[in-house]
């Protein structure tokens, strides 16, 4: 699967140079260092209101299933005894919450939230997982600095190839 590119032209000139506007309209990804976070802000309290209206029907009242309840979507918050993987005990970067919710949630209306709504929901979920205080204001300058408990557990693939089962 390697082509002999020695006779290729330096450019085929297919396609067009992307304009800044074209890029900005879709380049919504956020890096763990906060690059890409938009202006705006949010609080757990406002997030809670939005969460109840737009998220709770699938993810449970507080991001948790009541006893015996089977949710159609993953639980999002955990207490210390929970074995279920949630933001609190499994997510290594707070920026991922903002990025994911903005692109994919609510499941039935993805891309419908304003940046402020996403900041608020992110703040609410972090608070519900006891990671931030219930009155913290979240924005582009502090979200990426939040220390996530699971961060220290993550290691890049340590399989080494070859005969070893790992």
């Amino acid at each position: 699967i390697t082509a002999d590119t020695s006779k290729w032209p330096s450019t085929f000139s297919f396609g067009k140079v992307a304009t800044e506007q074209q890029i900005d309209s879709v380049a919504i990804a956020i890096l763990p260092n906060g690059t890409g976070l938009p202006p705006g802000l949010g609080t757990p309290k406002e997030g809670n209101v939005i969460y109840i209206t737009k998220c709770a029907s699938c993810h449970g009242a507080n991001g948790k299933a009541a006893a015996g309840e089977k949710l159609p979507a993953p639980e999002l918050a955990s207490d210390s005894i929970s074995k279920i993987k949630t933001i609190g005990n499994y997510w290594p970067y707070a920026t991922t919450i903002f990025d994911y919710v903005r692109r994919a949630m609510p499941y039935n209306a993805p891309g419908s939230l304003t940046n402020n709504e996403v900041y608020s929901i992110t703040a609410y979920l972090l608070s519900a997982n006891n990671i931030i205080k219930p009155d913290m204001v979240i924005n582009a300058h502090n979200l990426y600095k939040i220390n996530m408990p699971a961060r220290k557990l993550f290691i890049p693939d340590d399989r080494r190839g070859g005969p070893e089962v790992r």
Binding site: I1, V26, Y90, D99, A104, V165
Partner: protein, 385 residues
């Protein structure tokens, strides 16, 4: 008068429903624009809300019919107009560019056959499980498209770029971070599958193909590639597609380790005494399969099998082994060995290596089938928690 033959032929067309007539006495239906399966064959995928499994036990050879390719979606199958489709490549590049589908098709193209497998392709519970239920989240196609390296060359990827983000245009805007090295190595943007346009469930009109890497990284309906000097830590590479290994969580576990499964005889086959050709598929995300061994005595001894040529890199490889079954109760097993000399492990070996909290991701244990005295073939479930 020409039309009188046409009439006969068309009348005959209505007779396809006559299942019990002598086919040598009934003029058959004429040619059609698009063919259909025999009325007697109904292979189907097994569906859940978010996935469907290939009926491995119904298949022969190495190609998966495109309409039976496994599925795993995170927000369903989008409808994409190919004339509106665009792929943006930007970030750490000399020249950010937008390619229409017709642009992608103009570049030098490559065709290759390889498997795809969901890294969550592992189930074990009861004895009455088919290959499809145990292991149906893998399929194989012949893919055609443009090498990602060709596009990297065109946009001028900067040397400091070490990762790229691949983003789908489904309702999940699914994103994965991929090392740039894979992009230069054998990654492709493919627009064709098994000879024709890629199917909607496999990413129409174009998807990322990362031969040998976990299914989820092969981003479907790809709309954007962003070059960066670090991974983006998206939800799919943190909350999902990571797994506990002892006291750590393994991330960016891309390659699918070698695996195999016997697809015949398997549940629900009924075995007859005498000669049996044991058949199955083996594959590895790390290169070619060099050997598949089969045991017909519950793992005590192992026999080399015949591998169907051509054996391709990172591809389902069909294996066969002739065996005489005299009616004794036994277990039959297969294990794949790839060109890195990795030997497909047992479940016990995997748990030993990863600890008891091992999840269902990247589990590739040997699958055993129990042969009962009456010829019943049953899966041998193994508890794994």
């Amino acid at each position: 008068l020409q039309s009188s033959l046409t009439k006969w032929v068309q009348t005959a067309g209505a007779q396809t429903l006559i299942k019990n007539g002598d086919p040598t006495k009934i003029t058959g239906a004429g040619p059609s624009t698009v063919g259909k399966r025999s009325l007697f064959e109904k292979p189907v995928r097994l569906t859940s809300d978010t996935s469907s499994r290939t009926p491995l036990q119904d298949l022969y050879g190495t190609i998966t019919p495109s309409d039976l390719h496994y599925e795993r979606h995170h927000a369903g199958v989008p409808v994409i107009d190919p004339d509106k489709y665009e792929l943006l490549i930007h970030g750490m590049v000399g020249k950010p560019m937008v390619f229409k589908l017709s642009d992608l098709k103009r570049f030098p193209s490559v065709t290759r056959t390889c498997f795809l497998e969901c890294s969550g392709n592992f189930r074990t519970s009861k004895e009455t499980m088919t290959p499809q239920e145990i292991c149906g989240l893998t399929s194989q196609s012949e893919w055609t498209g443009v090498m990602l390296s060709t596009l990297f060359r065109e946009v001028g990827v900067e040397p400091k770029a070490t990762w790229f983000l691949a983003e789908g245009s489904d309702a999940a805007l699914l994103t994965r971070s991929i090392p740039v090295k894979k992009g230069w190595d054998d990654a492709m943007i493919v627009y064709a599958q098994n000879g024709e346009a890629i199917r909607p469930e496999q990413g129409y009109p174009a998807r990322l193909l990362l031969p040998g890497w976990e299914g989820n990284t092969n981003v479907k309906w790809i709309r954007r590639v962003e070059l960066s000097d670090q991974p983006f830590m998206t939800r799919e590479e943190t909350s999902k597609y990571t797994y506990p290994v002892k006291d750590k969580i393994r991330q960016f576990s891309f390659e699918m380790d070698a695996r195999s499964i016997i697809t015949y005889p398997a549940y629900p086959n009924q075995l007859e005494r005498g000669w049996v050709e044991i058949r199955g598929i083996a594959w590895s995300g790390r290169g070619k399969i060099i050997k598949v061994e089969v045991s017909t005595d519950a793992g005590k001894s192992w026999n080399a099998t015949n591998l169907q040529e051509p054996v391709l890199d990172k591809a389902h490889t069909y294996f066969r082994h002739l065996w005489q079954w005299r009616g004794d109760e036994t277990e039959i097993l297969s294990r794949a060995i790839d060109e890195t000399n990795y030997i497909q492990p047992t479940l016990r070996q995997l748990i030993e290596a990863r600890g008891i909290s091992a999840s269902g991701y990247h589990m590739n244990p040997i699958t055993a089938w129990q042969i009962k005295r009456d010829g019943k073939v049953l899966f041998k479930p193994e508890s794994f928690k």
